[in-house]
């Protein structure tokens, strides 16, 4: 029983981090119909930047999120402006291939800058843990999970409480009409791309404290994140958060009760199962536009 509670709590904490990273991916898709395959690479980039901030400046890596996130935001903004914007009207497959190319380039650059050996961020509390009752919760997991929830909340506040958030939601719902009422959709898209990528970067800074990483780790991450957003329904933020929590728990339970090796197979198995039953994902809805838009 104790073990189960502990597994569930850890699963939810991990799920919170997944939710943060996946929210950026689904947000970008929702606003500009771009599946950002480079999302996992930006997550790992966030981890490497956090590593450097911790290593060089001696800052706590979780506090370092304050530095990591703006850097990754700027990078995302720039990438949208330079590379994604020119092909924003091209078929979705073009942006898939473009961002896939970006992922490979980012992986190569990270390999050249930080090397291909396993890197770990190890702040002082990394081996400590909390013991409420009989359960055992590593401090890094708890801090990381909570920080992810805080950043996610901040993102949610931006989307729901600010003018920018309204503009983003308008652009997502109907770009042409948003233009008509004075929203500059390409500017909004650039900010959204930056925000989405920054969410991945923040998630990367947090996971960097929890698990060691190499440049090639981004494949596992993008597969997991894509699985999460497909499960939640592409473009749905609530769906992504919900399914991220499901994933966190499912992976942790598999790792504890079955085998850690098979835990990596869980996301893919879930995706196949869900798409067999509900091709539109958990929270995805089909709209009137789906049939009318040419």
């Amino acid at each position: 029983m104790t073990e189960l509670v502990q597994t569930l709590v850890l699963g939810l904490l991990v799920g919170g981090i997944y939710a943060l990273a996946a929210s950026g991916l689904t947000l970008i898709f929702g606003v500009m119909r771009v599946i950002n395959i480079a999302h996992g690479a930006f997550l790992i980039l966030g981890a490497f930047i956090a590593y450097t901030v911790w290593n060089q400046l001696g800052l706590d890596p979780l506090v370092g999120v304050l530095i990591t996130t703006p850097i990754v935001f700027g990078l995302g903004w720039l990438i949208y402006r330079l590379l994604v914007r020119p092909i924003r009207h091209a078929p979705m497959s073009s942006t898939v291939l473009l961002t896939f190319g970006l992922a490979l380039v980012t992986e190569g650059v990270m390999g050249l800058v930080w090397g291909n050996n396993s890197t770990a961020i190890r702040p002082s509390y990394v081996d400590q843990s909390f013991h409420p009752g009989d359960i055992f919760l590593p401090k890094a997991q708890v801090y990381g999970g909570l920080l992810a929830v805080v950043v996610l909340l901040a993102l949610w506040l931006i989307l729901t409480k600010t003018w920018l958030g309204r503009a983003i939601r308008a652009a997502a719902a109907n770009p042409a009409s948003a233009e008509l009422v004075g929203i500059k959709v390409t500017s909004v898209s650039a900010v959204v791309f930056g925000l989405g990528v920054a969410a991945a970067g923040a998630g990367g800074a947090i996971t960097g404290v929890l698990y060691p990483f190499v440049p090639g780790s981004h494949y596992v991450w993008i597969a997991r994140l894509l699985a999460i957003v497909v499960l939640g329904g592409l473009g749905s933020l609530e769906g992504a958060v919900l399914s991220a929590l499901v994933f966190g728990v499912a992976e942790t339970v598999t790792a504890v009760y079955f085998s850690p090796a098979w835990a990596t197979a869980v996301p893919y198995a879930i995706v196949f199962a869900v798409l067999l039953i509900r091709p539109q994902g958990l929270m995805g809805t089909r709209l009137r536009d789906d049939a009318v838009a040419a």
Partner: protein, 627 residues
Amino acid sequence: MSTVTAESAPDGHSAFDLIWVGRAIALVAGVLLVLYPILSDNLYYQNMIILSLVFAIAASGLSIITGLAGYVSLGQGAFIGLGGYTVGVLATRHPDTNVWVWMPIAGLVAGAVALVLGFVALRARGPSFVIITVAFLFLVQVIAINWRSLSGGTEGLSLPIPTWDFDYANWPFYYGLVGILALQLLLSWWVRRTKLGTGLVAIREDETKAATVGINLPVEKIIAFVASSVLVGVAGGVYGYYLTFIDPRGMFNILLSVETMLALLVGGKATLWGPVLGAFIVEPLNEYANNDLGGGNTRLLLFGGLLVVIVLFLPQGVLPAIESLLNWVRTRGKAGLVGARIGTGGSLTALTDRLSLVDREVAHDPLPLLEVKDLRKAFGGLTAVDGASLVVPEGSITGLIGPNGSGKTTLFNLIDNTIHADSGEIWLAGERIDRLSSWARVHRGVGRTFQITRLFHEMTVLENVVASQRSFSWGQLGRIAVSGAEARAAEDILEYVGMRAFRDQKAKALSFGQQKLVELAQVLMLDPNLILLDEPAGGINPVLIDRMSEMIRELNSYGKTFLIVEHNMPFVLGLCDPVHVLARGRTMASGTATEIQKDPAVLDAYLGDDFVLEAADAAQTPEARNA
């Protein structure tokens, strides 16, 4: 076509010479490729060609599902891996059997896996497919790593060392792959020229529309996916045997998929030879990056950078770029045909052997051809169609009017299953059809046009019309895309709607009104009993409106039943009987045109209190309007 070439003879010569130069180069390259191991025993280049051949086969396979059908797959490398592992597992279990025996089995395994995966992945549309292919690749990799008893886990499998003379060590692999490539090219070529190929291109252009012209989406997509993978599995088997050692990290490396995709994109994704050319460009680059630039990260930068550059600057690929350059040289200074006048239209009697037309007697009490009962559809909180019921009597021209947003188009979409209804029943000629797919409804005799025309933009007018498939059969998929009889039928129908002069124009070059006529021709090609027209008079000029209503009357007099959504009141009230009025997703009134015009509820909800139709028949005769 022939006249165009004749006219362009002076400056066309150079272009045609260039084409022949291109063909000569291809021929010489092909001959050199076949002779190379005989001419040279340079193992470095033999190895490079063998790897290029593997990617050429994989990319040519990919050109079917990605190039023709437009579904991007990043899991193509998985079929190479599956083929390799099938041969690896079987060869290590049966060391006394000749390894080559297992190659066909590798193809069968790849094909069977593609069938199952396609069934899951291709039921959904669009973006989830690419995600699933990536997930699939990682899943088989995880399985290969963890199912140690079968695959040997991360340590991999060592295949038997080839037993033949070392001097000819590479020959069987080399010529084996050349043979598989020839088969793959034959398959890709065959798919392109059949009904299946046209259907796939239609799916790429507009999948929803494809379903409404009778194309069986899942069957065509799944066949395409299987055709993309079977021979790739065989090639993967040969590749595995060639390497003599396979492990999960190598065989299911996503970079195999990336390199395949790159080969396809560089060469030209919708071309026959492009993938081969692409593979012979990309693989040598890969070898160069590996051997001379340090491999690893440099190779990633090369692949990634190349992907970005191709997508941004050469989205069509090398071969189509050369082709459009030649086209430009050839047609420079020629006027387009798009501005030609729309024909006055042919006679319907010329179509009697094309369509099932009957000179019908008006029955006094006609049977309902279409019956919609209590149909409902909600989009989130908005109920667009809320219990609509209506009857379209056989042989009638039934009108459907109502305010904007009253659910008329949604009702159309429900009738042909472009959108699936939440509840309610749809009956066609006594058969309940609301559980049937769009194409099955088409095959039972429902044809529809769209309010905003949806043609296959990259196809010519003629191709658009022959893309319609009246029925489905497995044998038909393999038939040649446009038979002579079909082309003649399509031309006659185009003549009837007045668009024959435009038959070789791309649909995207046409005006809105012209597109409406082509869409009508497309529907007529299906020879439906019931024709649904969504705003046939919307956005077109008065002369064309008259022609439209003339055609509707004429087709109707030969037995075709119509259901028409329209806002042009003179048009509807002059043409239609009965008329149904839709408001808030519900049928609020039904009756003859005269009854509807006087119905106080209809005047209140839609027409307005001051509605006076000046002359119901003004719409039919231009003279009346001019008077």
